[in-house]
Assembly symmetry: C2
Homo-oligomer: 360 residues x 2
């Protein structure tokens, strides 16, 4: 299958710094190449891939201080893609909605994975107007603000099988992994560890917007003797649910509040425990010891590898290509019938078509 | 002529607050309607026009605090336009470059007026790649960073003839009109007025980014006895050269440093004096008294009315429509010849065409 993967330009693929979307695009692309597809990656020029790379800018945009207008590069990327679109059987966008107006008129099947939060009011009229655009969600929870949109599938993220090593032995500390921000509630993790009498290692990055919160709320709590601040470790801006999957890959069970995709990704009582209150979380620390680390790894290998993710995507691609072929065949046959009935039919069809004034 | 005017959504047309571009789009639209064209304005829903209004959002975006993603609305606007594009003889964009990828494939002639500064590095590859897109500049000076782009004309702004009243009598004070920011050099105006022994009235707005500069540099200078601070008056974010044109309409000569479009808009020794140094500016205040206020108004009426602006635009529109017709005729004739030579020619042409997979 000749597949185009269209990545954001904000980070390289894979990302040198943070970039959950770019990591997933990279895993998917490499896996598709590995199983024999002919893949072209549209991404920034500092990307590294075994696919064919087509770059509309040399460097990814986040580190490019001079870049005042990121949309300019995205517009270029889109045009590079359209120019060679006949080379592909399927286009897979990871770039939001900017391509929707022109994609209405694409002859090539295409699908868009939405990687971000969808609870932004401006998105409603866009996805309403472009209801024909086929979408993929990364969890069922993510769909909620646009539940009526044209969803084709939920495809959970996957990691290369050997990216994380399985650790059979239980450690003697708790870990908090992620971003320091009010809604991530590292303060709760510190409180929970304290009550459970366990050490807590915190590996987290602090975004600029969260500096004040870190200084005021979190930093004083780091003085407590049971807390160890590790700070920023690489590859740490996790896409939705990615932390849970990484823990699973290592064999580490997770204790999580029930929010977002938690209940979809985690199997309660198997790969971790879902809690609703702080008391419940403290109590869960005792019970989590009974969960099998080997079973966590098993679930990872079954449900959350890049290979499973790629194969789910290929199923969607295949379905879309088949639908397109059926459609074309139908059009072709009805054209033949029309021509047989009336030689001027082609002319009439042209006159009555509604959409639109594009030159091919 | 059936003309679509496509305005930015950041402000209504005309703007309720600041918005040089939206003011010009409004003047142009109203003038085109007045002289009998069939005009459709694509703009925010709070716009007021005698043209047909098509709105992709109810309210303009600047005052809409909830709007986190302005590109979403622009994408909608574009799609509304494309949907009915066959209704128009010509599309006139005032919205930057977002439409370039899809406009490559438009059957309808279209042109884009660039209203802003062009010295942004990201613009270079965009205008390089879309060299076929026809552009209009609002001054020759504006073109400089992209001098090689596909410029069709420079069309200076124009104001409705009766928007400003002619004042035949000279006042006894100087005025500074515009925005408080380091590059506008209100400090110089204060110094010049002081040296010339004249009062200076300052009507200016202070943008958020310039608050610090205002507090630190300008505010202390406002204490001087010859300075009168008027503050923000409406309609004050002037597009390039608009202040000069407004002064002309009132019959007021201008003293200006030679920058941007100054030497194109102002006729040195007729509607004002161009200076290069502070000393020269002080000295010019004496000489400016000799310039005829009636002559300033005459120049305004000849060169800078909305009616002149609209007629310049119509000339460009006409040229583009004619070129398109010639092109179509050529295509049609060569198709006829090809068919005459070889009945399979149509099929072959389809196979060898390079651009691209769009459905019409």
């Amino acid at each position: 299958m000749r597949i185009a993967q269209v990545a954001p330009l904000i980070e390289s693929v894979p990302p040198k710094h943070y970039g959950g979307t770019e990591r997933i695009v990279s895993y998917l692309t490499e896996e598709l190449v590995r199983v024999g597809h002919d893949v072209t990656l549209f991404a920034s020029g500092d990307s590294v891939t075994s696919a064919r790379l087509i770059a509309s800018c040399q460097r990814s945009l986040r580190k490019n201080e001079r870049c005042k207008d990121p949309v300019a590069r995205e517009v270029l990327l889109l045009d590079h893609l359209i120019e060679q679109i006949d080379e592909f059987d399927l286009i897979h966008f990871h770039t939001g909605y900017l391509h929707f107006p022109i994609c209405r008129y694409l002859r090539v099947p295409h699908v868009t994975t939405l990687h971000g939060r969808l609870d932004i009011p401006e998105l409603v009229p866009v996805f309403d107007r472009f209801r024909n655009e086929r979408l993929i969600s990364i969890s069922n929870a993510q769909r909620q603000p646009l539940s009526w949109a044209n969803w084709q599938a939920t495809i959970y993220h996957g990691l290369p099988k050997d990216l994380f090593q399985f650790y059979p032995d239980r450690g003697d500390y708790l870990a908090f992994l992620g971003r320091i921000s009010p809604e991530k509630r590292v303060d709760r993790a510190i409180e929970i560890a304290k009550r459970a009498g366990m050490r807590l290692k915190i590996a987290a990055k602090v975004d600029r917007v969260d500096k004040r919160y870190f200084k005021r709320v979190v930093e004083p709590m780091l003085q407590e003797s049971h807390v160890e601040w590790i700070g920023e470790i690489s590859d740490q801006e996790k896409a939705f649910g990615l932390v849970m999957i990484e823990a699973m890959a290592c064999g580490t069970p997770v204790i999580a509040y029930d929010a977002g995709s938690v209940s979809e990704v985690m199997e309660h009582g198997v790969t971790g425990l879902i809690v609703t209150k702080l008391d419940g979380a403290v109590e869960a620390i005792g019970r989590v010891a009974n969960l099998s680390r080997a079973r966590c790894r098993e679930v990872f290998e079954k449900r959350f590898t890049a290979s499973r993710m790629a194969s789910d995507y290929v199923k969607v691609y295949r379905r879309m290509i088949d639908a397109r072929m059926r459609n074309l065949n139908r059009c072709f046959e009805s054209s033949l019938r029309a021509i047989a009935r009336q030689p001027d039919a082609l002319k009439d069809r042209k006159r009555t078509q509604k959409r639109p004034a594009l030159i091919t």
